[in-house]
């Protein structure tokens, strides 16, 4: 039973990592840049949801949807304002830029008087409910995380497999110039990719909020999502979720079976081993330039 219990908590934590990693992968696939601001976008999403629910008094579903939509718009605006001007520059400039965006977001949230330095509970209807199956105890919060992740994955799968938009995104991720010649509006697509990534981050934030509370530093969990993305292969969407699950499970089990301190570094040990053994990740595509 203990094993199963640990597994469920690992899976639900892994889903959060997976969702944030999904944001990295979406942006990496779409624009071949790495966003270090993903954790902060998640934090902004959680704060957005909080503001909608408590300050504006929206009903639950409306608040969730408006927070996600708001973050999508924010992501697109961010892409237009700071990412697009340096498109085509070395990848490292964009990494530094997104680190800057993350710093700024965290700083600005902390600066809001009376709100930024506090910790909040997101008032969700399923708060503190527990299901028991025999001796197994499942937090509804954990169940919601797992279910929402599954639904989101299915939606993204359909988007990328069947919709024109998704196929265009795949094309531009494989070769921007060729996609541009084929008449795909690459720049507008990049904006949409950032919007999508920000929306996914917001969902992750809203799912995580009932468990860890909403505070300005919750974005640091994004640093655990990097190992997830690497383990899954940085350019594979299902890989991000699987990587997240791997990291979540490893963390959950090592926290229980190994001595103190291993829980915090387990993710990084796994990623180092992965980079040594198979740098392209579990599901990464292996591309070779042929001469």
């Amino acid at each position: 039973m203990q094993f199963l219990q640990l597994m469920i908590s690992g899976v639900s934590q892994g889903c959060i990592y997976g969702l944030i990693a999904l944001g990295f992968v979406l942006i990496y696939k779409g624009t071949e840049t790495v966003s270090f601001a993903q954790g902060e976008l998640m934090m902004l999403g959680a704060f957005g949801g909080l503001a909608c629910m408590t300050l504006m008094g929206f009903p639950f579903w409306l608040a969730i949807l408006s927070a996600i939509a708001g973050m999508a718009l924010f992501g697109m605006a961010l892409e237009r304002a700071v990412i697009r001007p340096i498109l085509g520059q070395p990848a490292f400039s964009i990494v530094m830029l997104t680190i800057g965006v993350g710093y700024t977001a965290r700083g600005l949230i902390t600066m809001i008087p009376g709100i930024g330095t506090e910790t909040y509970v997101l008032p969700v209807p399923y708060k503190d409910e527990i299901w028991t199956f025999g001796t197994l105890v499942v937090n509804v919060e954990q169940f919601v995380i797992i279910a929402a992740t599954a639904v989101l994955c299915a939606l993204l799968f359909v988007l990328f497999k069947y919709s024109k938009l998704g196929i265009a995104m795949q094309a531009s991720s494989q070769n921007q110039l060729a996609a541009y010649y084929m008449g795909i509006p690459v720049q507008r697509l990049n904006g949409l990719v950032w919007g999508l990534a920000a929306a996914v981050a917001a969902i992750a934030g809203l799912l995580l909020a009932p468990i860890t509370f909403v505070h300005a530093n919750m974005g640091f969990i994004g640093l655990k999502a990097f190992p997830a993305a690497v383990v899954g292969g940085f350019s594979s969407l299902p890989g991000a979720i699987v990587g997240g699950l791997v990291i979540g499970l490893v963390e959950s089990f090592s926290g229980f079976y190994l001595p103190d301190g291993f829980k915090d570094v387990a993710a990084y040990v796994v990623v180092l081993i992965m980079l040594m053994v198979k740098p392209s990740g579990l599901f990464g595509e292996k591309l070779r330039k042929k001469v």
């Binding site: 340096i86 830029l97 700024t104 180092l272």
Partner: protein, 358 residues
């Protein structure tokens, strides 16, 4: 406008290209030597920090700016140096030997971390170094018998051969000497074949390889040298603060180091020093203007992070060459007056090139 007529091959690799260099750098050295008598004690301490960060920055610049390998966990090397120095000094070792051991241990760590760099690059290397940084930080926190854990540890003043460096002035001169040696060493390395090989690897791995540069050897060498410099800086940092704890060497410190060299100007030794000055004076400047701002903004705890972020965004967007690039533009403007054109330093438009195809 100055025209240099080259009449000798040696002129190409001379460190001082013309008499102006000799004059200005001598003036700078004189100023730095006179600093303890010119500045108040507080500012001298800040200047010492600038020198310490500059040493670490030289290391990171060698790695990121000249070899093109980015490390997101450089604070770990700083920490290894600091803890090695603390443990050895407290065990009674003289300063130079402890410093050499700290640098050596750090360099050995750099070799180990450099190994993944042979297989992965770009963002994957960033991940590897980031992970390494987290693991080392946790080791510092957990290995309590040596590092004192989260409670931190104290370190004695540096002493060598019966002479103890106890005053701030003496320590400043110690740092100044090591900084000058490190800078000259790096400049000398960069004009030697090894440094040229690093730059060639940065510009194109494939062409470097076809010129006969052993990629694996030079990449690990770059990591080791960079880590050694960071280790020396860490050792001095430990002596300066006299107290070290694991959270001084976390991811934020690594990002601060990166921020320093990006704002200073990637790929220039001047940039390291400009960046270090920026990094040290920025918090002072913020706390100075704090009182003049409305309380809502001035007293908010997140002000510093927000300003850092905005400055970083601004530099990446508008001044990718950093502070040193800005100085180059000003110099070109003055030299060419009135013929400076706006588009002279314009960035080239380019399409994204894929890293995924090797």
């Amino acid at each position: 406008m100055r025209f240099i007529f080259k009449t000798d091959y040696r002129q190409d690799i001379r460190l001082a290209k013309h008499p102006g260099h000799v004059f200005w750098y001598s003036a700078l050295v004189l100023l730095l030597l006179a600093a303890p008598w010119l500045f108040a004690e507080y500012w001298l301490a800040q200047l010492t920090f600038v020198l310490i960060y500059a040493i670490a920055g030289l290391g990171l610049m060698l790695l990121a700016g000249f070899t093109g390998l980015f490390s997101l966990g450089h604070a770990a090397f700083l920490g290894v140096g600091a803890y090695a120095q603390a443990v050895l000094t407290n065990a009674g070792w003289p300063f130079p030997i402890a410093l050499a051991c700290a640098a050596g241990l750090s360099a050995a760590m750099g070799l180990v971390v450099g190994l993944p760099a042979l297989r992965v690059k770009g963002i994957y290397l960033g991940m590897a170094t980031l992970s390494f940084g987290f693991i080392i930080e946790e080791v510092f926190a957990r290995w309590e018998s040596v590092t004192g854990g989260n409670a931190g540890m104290h370190i004695k003043a540096p002493s060598m051969f019966g002479w103890t460096v106890s005053s701030g002035e003496a320590f400043y001169f110690l740092c100044l000497g090591i900084t000058v040696a490190a800078t000259l060493g790096l400049l000398n390395l960069l004009r030697a074949p090894t440094g040229r090989a690093f730059v060639a690897i940065r510009d194109s791995e494939i062409s470097a390889q076809s010129m006969g540069i052993h990629l694996a050897r030079y990449k690990t060498l770059s990591f080791a040298l960079s880590a050694a410099l960071a280790g020396i800086a860490g050792a001095l940092y430990a002596h300066k603060l006299q107290f070290i704890s694991p959270e001084q060497f976390n991811i934020l410190q690594s990002i601060d180091l990166l921020l320093m060299i990006v704002i200073g100007g990637l790929g220039s030794v001047h940039g390291v020093f400009l960046g270090a000055i920026f990094l040290i004076t920025m918090p002072q400047a913020i706390s100075m203007v704090k009182d003049y701002l409305p309380a809502v903004i001035g007293q908010a705890p997140g002000l510093q992070a927000a300003v850092y972020g905005l400055v970083l965004i601004g530099f990446v967007l508008f001044e990718p060459m950093g502070l040193y690039g800005r100085w180059l533009k000003i110099r070109a403007y003055l030299q060419l007056f009135p013929f400076y054109r706006k588009g002279m330093f314009k960035r080239q438009k380019s399409f994204q090139k894929s890293d995924r195809l090797k």
